[in-house]
């Protein structure tokens, strides 16, 4: 090799290596393009299901990775918000008055803020409201109807209890006791609850919605795609009741979708969920009328679907898909609110909080008045008030509690329709105060004048003690139920291939 490098040699070396690298780079580009084809190959591969209902969610993982992965994220409980983040919060601890309002009903035992769909089964088994069948000879306290919204094993079982092919028999399902289906209901809320597994078309899997629509002269199957993006939610997030005796699941939508329509329906059939042990009022328990309340709000009125905000579209890798991590839209303002609204994220968040704050302010008043009214009514009864004297008071309490419960039971109501929620809660306060006024008159008639003595219900424990609940005993039995009974359910399901191993 020459000691001295000539000028042209220098340029050749420099230029040569430059050209070589550039061309190598182009080859790499070409290679990367071919590598990217793997994605298309993958996207075009599909397991074709023959059956509309495939209960094991894991079977969808390979073909729908984006949807499956985002759905899996409903396990996450780290999102915090001013009201109802994704973590579990003991509501009775925060609001002991609710123990009084739900006295005589399982809700006074245990009531938490909701978590993601992936926790549905776990939370249902551990909640004290489902009792502890099989422990110390205790029987079921709930019918199998309680499972209805807890996963794709439900439509599967309704079919198995029918003719096993295409005939659903929901009546046979609802007729069973809760623990009878413990080893069947093992896959949490997932794909087949909303999709036809053969085509992935949206299709609510539960019969109650179809039945309710049919009675109201509507057909779910004729709903538009945009309506379906709410109806798959509305098959569960709605007000319902169990028919006394058969535990058949029904939606009180025959007369319409408002609170007054449902109330008229219930009054007509003389329905009540339980008799309040303090005031002897036949109470209507509202069960999360999320869909109905959302219809009353401005977003619902403008045709915005549940999925538009709770399952926003995303673009990733040039592919548009629906985020299946269903949660508060406040967690992703950049792809929920800001799709339509131009304000900055913090402004929008504060707009939501303001509505929630104002609704909560009046909610606090309603709960105080209503709990006091129940306790005062008990005092009146204990001091000789007659049934005839109590009847109008109980009517007022029933109206008041139904409005309060309807307003608060669907978790997002204070944002979905703040004007409807404040209307309902202010009516609730009004009815409760009318009741208290009437109670004062009745008490005076029976010789009592002055403030009716109030028990100490300042904490959840004190309130539960006041209504006569033995919480340590209930919790102990539940713990043993979770250790002794639930594992046998899961083992049985795994042995039969109904629950896939992790």
């Amino acid at each position: 090799m020459a000691k001295q490098l000539k000028k042209w040699q220098g340029w050749l070396l420099f230029g040569g290596s430059m050209v070589v690298v550039f061309i190598l780079g182009l080859l790499v580009s070409s290679l990367m393009e071919r590598r990217a084809e793997v994605v298309s190959v993958f996207n075009n591969k599909r397991t074709v299901f023959e059956d509309a209902i495939v209960a094991q969610n894991e079977k969808f993982k390979a073909d729908y990775p984006r949807e499956y992965n985002t759905w899996s994220m409903t396990e996450d409980t780290s999102f915090e918000s001013k009201y109802n983040g994704s973590e579990e919060v003991d509501v009775l601890e925060q609001r002991p008055e609710m123990v009084i309002l739900w006295a005589g009903y399982a809700f006074s035992r245990h009531y938490n803020t909701p978590r993601g769909h992936k926790h549905a089964l776990e939370d249902m088994r551990k909640i004290l409201r489902t009792g502890n069948p099989g422990i110390d000879g205790d029987a079921d306290m709930q019918p199998a109807t309680c499972w209805t919204c807890k996963g794709p094993d439900v439509p599967r079982m309704m079919r198995e209890l029918g003719n096993g092919v295409d005939q659903f028999e929901p009546g046979n399902f609802y007729h069973k006791r809760w623990s009878e289906l413990g080893a069947e209901e093992v896959n949490t809320i997932g794909c087949s609850d909303c999709h036809d597994a053969r085509t992935m078309e949206l299709r609510p899997a539960r019969p109650a919605l179809y039945e309710a629509w049919e009675r109201a002269g509507k057909d779910v199957n004729k709903a538009t795609h945009q309506e379906m993006r709410s109806l798959v939610c509305a098959q569960c997030h709605t007000e319902y009741y169990f028919v006394k005796g058969t535990d058949y699941l029904m939606f009180p939508q025959d007369k319409g979708m408002t609170l007054e329509d449902a109330e008229a329906y219930y009054d007509e059939i003389g329905f009540y969920d339980y008799i309040h042990p303090l005031s002897k009022t036949p109470i209507l328990k509202a069960q999360h009328p999320g869909y109905e309340v959302a219809l009353q709000g401005i977003h619902g009125q403008r045709g915005v679907s549940c999925a538009d905000c709770h399952m926003p579209y995303m673009s990733e890798g040039g592919v548009k898909f629906t985020d299946h991590h269903i949660m508060s839209p406040l967690a992703n303002i950049d792809r929920t609110c800001q799709t339509c609204h131009r304000q900055d994220a913090e402004t929008l968040r504060q707009n939501v909080y303001e509505r929630q704050d104002k609704c909560t302010e009046i909610r606090n008043r309603a709960e105080k008045e209503l709990a006091t009214a129940h306790i005062e009514a008990k005092f009146a009864i204990d001091n000789g008030a007659t049934d005839a004297e109590m009847k109008p008071i109980q009517d007022l309490l029933r109206k008041s509690q139904w409005r309060w419960d309807y307003a608060i039971a669907s978790h997002g109501a204070t944002f979905h329709a703040p004007q409807e929620v404040t209307r309902l809660l202010s009516l609730s306060v009004d009815f409760a105060q009318q009741a208290r006024l009437a109670i004062a008159k009745v008490c005076a008639k029976h010789g009592f004048i002055g403030d009716i003595p109030m028990p100490d219900i300042s904490t959840k424990a004190k309130a539960q003690q006041y209504i006569g609940l033995d919480m340590p005993k209930l919790q102990d039995k539940k713990d043993r139920f979770l250790q002794e009974v639930v594992p046998t359910w899961l083992e049985e399901a795994k042995a039969k291939g109904k629950l896939l191993e992790e």
């Binding site: 000691k3 220098g10 420099f14 290596s17 070589v20 690298v21 550039f22 926003p312 673009s315 548009k320």
Partner: protein
Amino acid sequence: MKALGKITNLFSCRQKIFLLVVAGVICGLGGLFLYLLRAHTYIADDPSACVNCHIMTPYYATWSHSSHGRDATCNDCHVPHQNLAMKYGFKAMDGLKHVAYFVTHSERQAIMAEEMSAEVIMDNCIRCHRQLNQEFVKTGRMGYSEQMREGGKVCWDCHRNVPHGGMNSLSSTPNAEGVTPLPPSPVPNWLQNLMNK
């Protein structure tokens, strides 16, 4: 040149060969990066340059169907026009930011103008619509920064659909790829032909 001579004398022949190759590799990679970036397209005002990154597709599609799609380009609104230095300075800064977002996958699902960008856009609204807004009607006499100071409104607070439509999302026009001039493969034809033989 003398200084260069001095520096080159510091290295032995082997070192020089090594350094020249390294310099060639660096320049080659740099050139490749600019080529894949399609850097030459950024000098002019053709809107197709903005869809070099496919995530801009919905914004191109909504603009091309809007009233502004006939006479105004992306640059007419999105870069300042006071002078060439400001124009290219802003373009370079904004462009590099976009490259950084693009390659790190950190784009928002609904792209929104940042503060500096908003100022440029509104001042450009005024630049073109001055006569209409100052002579014929008496709006449009305040620029963006004055409006912000006074707590007033910006143009798009009322003209909400101008020019990108009412929906702002990377997913808003999922089928627009076919009508948008997305960039061709960076692998040149001669190389593709060579490889296909």
